[in-house]
């Protein structure tokens, strides 16, 4: 029976590892390969503090968690600047460094022989010396980790992580600080792995570098892929399957070494087969959860007109003499653009004229080589894209950049500013306030969707929308930021006349409220219908500025533009 309990204890430990690794891999979409290193740091911190310094169990555990969390955040630093494959190699390097240190810093870590004699845990006066008694604790801790990770995953913070995974630029454009998100995701994941490491140390009473090799990371990865990336229950199930299944190898009379090798080979084969035939895993990510009825009931009609700026025609966002060079290519060559409240400004010009570049310069996605961006005459203090949204300036993208593997409602919900649950400590310390606000936001999101005509699509996945609906959702997401200045990059192109008739009044109405609107558009009929003033861009600067009719009467422009 002890054997079965032992297997179950290992299932619990691996479930903790798989669930926590899934935060980085599945939710944040950051591909790191250093999970076994964090597992090791947790285990060794416990081992060193309890055996060499006589630190009691609990403070040792806390030290392990904090230390691993900090190292996890440091490991994420390179990921802040560049993602993808570079993160893979950096985290792989971290994994190797940690194992090297464990092997080589003999005085501290015992070298290749490891550390033995780690004290067993006692709970309610009873020493947990048998697998059966330890199982109770391991299961309780695994359940606890599952619970807090679940809270994270289904909180506004978790939603922001998934938005970042789906599209980092779009997440920034609605005010998410992706740097902070990455650091916290890494730290949280690493700290949870440290809990598993600490448990392992007390359970086996011995730690050695062999238990934390890169193969362990790949094994945990296999558990996630098998169970379902982004699905916490799947990760736990994957852990159970991949710990229990290879035990069958023990039924065959194989030499111990060979059995281990075959087990690892089996993990590899399984990874390949799963990715080939069921890449979403046994339990695909569950994001199409039901909307609470209370939110549906609370949703009324969007009170667009409640938001009104008294002053019209006042200069809000302005760019002065903006220059941008990419190597030898001049993308902006002295753009001067003043946007005014209550006015729809159209931006026209041939392809490559610098229209999108102008948007990028105004919203902090590009830093100008020279020139100034100001809001109501004041220079923008913090020009990082996610901060610029807080200055009430929001932009959309020509290539839409919706959060595809999220619901239509979530796309809007994520964009609301100042959500309590954007901060992880609120998620844990003020769960009810976060939940109440989130439900209120859901009702508001429904109102926004209703306003653009997508309410009946709310619970569907954003990648099921038609092109016209996607464009409407882009506008809805932009509206949710509650920004005063809205920069829309080709919001109308490719729309059929029916949808156009639906969208144009929305744009006009937003302007009538006093918002500042600027849109890039190619269709001159549309420009004439919706824009109050038009700027003609070519060669990286504004060549003409005026009422649409005036511009279109200018024969030189007409010739340049229409040909």
């Amino acid at each position: 029976m002890d054997y079965v309990y032992h297997v179950l204890v290992m299932v619990c430990l691996y479930a903790i590892l798989a669930i926590s690794f899934n935060v980085v891999i599945g939710l944040a979409g950051l591909f790191a390969l250093s999970h076994a290193a964090f597992y090791a740091i947790g285990a060794y911190t416990t081992a060193i503090l309890t055996t060499q310094y006589g630190v009691p169990v609990l403070p040792a555990l806390v030290c392990g968690i904090v230390l691993t969390g900090v190292i996890g955040a440091i490991a994420a630093l390179p990921a802040l600047r560049i993602g993808g494959h570079y993160l893979v190699v950096v985290t792989l390097a971290l994994q190797i460094i940690v194992i090297d240190v464990l092997r080589n810093a003999q005085g501290l870590t015992g070298g290749p022989d490891g550390i033995s004699g780690i004290p067993r845990l006692t709970l309610f006066g009873q020493t947990l010396s048998t697998p059966g008694s330890f199982l109770v604790l391991a299961a309780a801790v695994a359940a606890f980790v599952y619970l807090i990770t679940h809270m994270l995953a289904f909180s506004p913070f978790g939603r922001a992580l998934r938005a970042m995974r789906e599209d980092e630029l779009a997440a920034q454009s609605i005010g998410k600080n992706v740097v902070a998100l990455k650091l916290i995701a890494f730290a949280f994941s690493a700290a949870s792995a440290a809990i598993a490491g600490s448990l392992l140390a007390h359970y086996i009473t011995f730690v050695s570098p062999q238990s934390f090799s890169i193969d362990e990371t790949i094994l945990v990865l296999a558990m996630i892929i098998l169970g379902g990336t982004g699905n916490l229950f799947g990760a736990a199930a994957g852990a159970a399957i991949l710990v229990a299944l290879p035990e069958l190898l023990k039924l065959m009379a194989l030499p111990v070494g060979t059995a281990d090798l075959l087990r690892n080979a089996f993990y590899g084969l399984m990874l390949i087969l799963i990715l080939r035939f069921r890449p979403e895993g046994i339990f695909p990510e569950r994001y199409r959860y039901r909307l609470p009825e209370s939110a549906k009931r609370a949703a009324g009609v969007l009170e667009v007109d409640a938001w009104t700026r008294p002053v019209r025609g006042e200069v809000t966002l302005a760019g002065n003499d903006l220059h941008k060079n990419f190597g030898g290519i001049v993308a902006a060559n002295g753009v001067d653009l003043e946007l005014r409240s209550g006015i729809v400004t159209g931006l026209i010009g041939p392809n490559g004229a610098g229209k999108t570049t102008a948007f990028n310069l105004l919203t902090g996605f590009l830093t100008p080589t020279a020139g100034r961006v100001s809001m109501r005459g004041l220079p923008l203090a913090d020009r990082r894209p996610h901060r610029i949204v807080r200055s009430s300036i929001a932009r959309s993208f020509q290539d839409l950049r919706l959060f595809k593997r999220m619901t239509v409602l979530e796309n809007v919900l994520t964009a609301f500013p100042d959500q309590l649950g954007d901060r992880l400590w609120n998620v844990f310390l003020r769960p009810f306030a976060v939940r109440a606000q989130d439900h209120a936001n859901m009702a508001r999101a429904l109102e926004v969707l209703d306003f653009v005509g997508l309410r009946d699509r709310a619970e569907q996945s954003a990648d099921n929308l038609s092109y016209a609906e996607e464009k409407l959702l882009v506008i809805a997401r932009l509206l949710a930021t509650d920004a005063e200045v809205l920069l829309l990059d080709e919001p109308l192109s490719g729309l059929d006349p029916t949808t156009l008739d639906q969208v144009l009044p929305i744009v006009r109405r937003l302007a009538e409220q006093g918002r500042t609107i600027c849109l890039i558009e190619h269709n001159l009929d549309v420009i004439r219908e919706v824009c109050d003033v038009t700027a003609y861009l070519d060669g990286g600067k504004v060549l003409a500025f005026g009422k649409p009719e005036e511009l279109m009467r200018d024969p030189k422009l007409v010739e340049r533009y229409i040909q």
């Binding site: 390179p78 792989l92 190797i96 092997r103 590899g268 084969l269 890449p279």
Partner: protein
């Protein structure tokens, strides 16, 4: 001073080996965007093949080398056609391809350990000279490592610059979509780079076989150093990988001046970490 010269010599020779591995890996990674982790096991398998042909069948080493290189080329192409291509054809994200390559990596590595055992397989009848220049001692293998790297790097650079295939490979490296539009068969280009890259890895495998013998873990360190060389130097050019590899070898060697040898790889990875923070797209260029 003598120590410094000795460390320099060691650094250049180790760096040449890393650079050689980096060129092969970088050719595949830069062109196809696939992080081919199974590059390591393919390299290890070709070392075993050479060992088996030379030690068990008694073939002369040059013959074993040629056959081993051919084996690696075929194995690389098979990995592409059987594993990566179906995934790419389905439009899988790069994350999926990367995990699949990790799966192939541990599948092949462990199966090799089952088949060949975990002890090192060495060639007993290969001997190489040891040369003393002043106070610097350098072995024949070290000299061969440097020479082989220079020959292959220059040869590959000329091939990429002058041949039709080379032009196609450079076009795909630069912009896949555009290459496709102008009628380049990207599938064939992928097959060619997998073959070439894997064959280059087999030459690195021969160096390792002669120097230390073949064992199952050589694959991991090979692909890992290759990956780091490419990332440190900059993806997408032969010279990037070459500079990255040489720098890695030199810095590691310089570290030996003050630190014991077991910290060698830790030093290399710290270099990587610093370069990534300071110049995330690599020293030479990056796309």
């Amino acid at each position: 001073m003598d120590l410094i010269l000795q460390l320099l010599a060691n650094g250049v020779s180790n760096g040449s080996q890393y650079a050689l591995l980096g060129i092969g890996f970088g050719l595949i990674f830069g062109t196809t965007g696939i992080v081919h982790f199974a590059y390591g096991p393919v390299l290890a398998a070709s070392a075993y093949v050479m060992w088996w042909l030379a030690a068990s069948l008694g073939l002369p080493f040059p013959v074993a080398l040629v056959l081993g290189v051919a084996f690696a080329g075929i194995a690389g192409v098979v990995a592409y056609l059987v594993l990566y291509e179906p995934l790419l054809a389905r439009g899988s994200p790069s994350f999926v391809v990367l995990v699949a390559s990790l799966g192939l990596f541990i599948l092949v590595s462990n199966m090799m350990a089952v088949l060949f055992g975990t002890d090192a397989k060495t060639l007993s009848d290969i001997s190489y000279g040891i040369y003393v220049l002043g106070d610097v001692v350098i072995t024949g293998v070290q000299l061969v490592q440097i020479a082989v790297f220079v020959i292959i790097a220059v040869g590959l650079a000329i091939f990429l610059r002058t041949s039709a295939w080379g032009n196609a490979i450079r076009a795909v490296t630069d912009n896949v979509a555009m290459a496709r539009i102008i009628g380049i068969d990207t599938r064939k280009v992928a097959i060619v780079v997998f073959a070439l890259g894997s064959m280059i890895s087999a030459i690195g495998a021969a160096n390792i076989l002669v120097r230390d013998g073949a064992s199952t873990h050589i694959g991991f360190f090979a692909v890992f150093y290759a990956f780091i060389s490419v990332v440190v130097g900059g993806v997408g050019s032969v010279w990037g990988a070459a500079i990255g590899g040489l720098l890695l070898g030199l810095v590691e060697s310089a570290g030996m001046w003050k630190l014991p040898t077991e910290w060698q790889s830790t030093i290399a990875f710290m270099v990587l970490f610093v370069v990534m923070l300071w110049r995330p797209t690599g020293l030479l260029r990056g796309n």
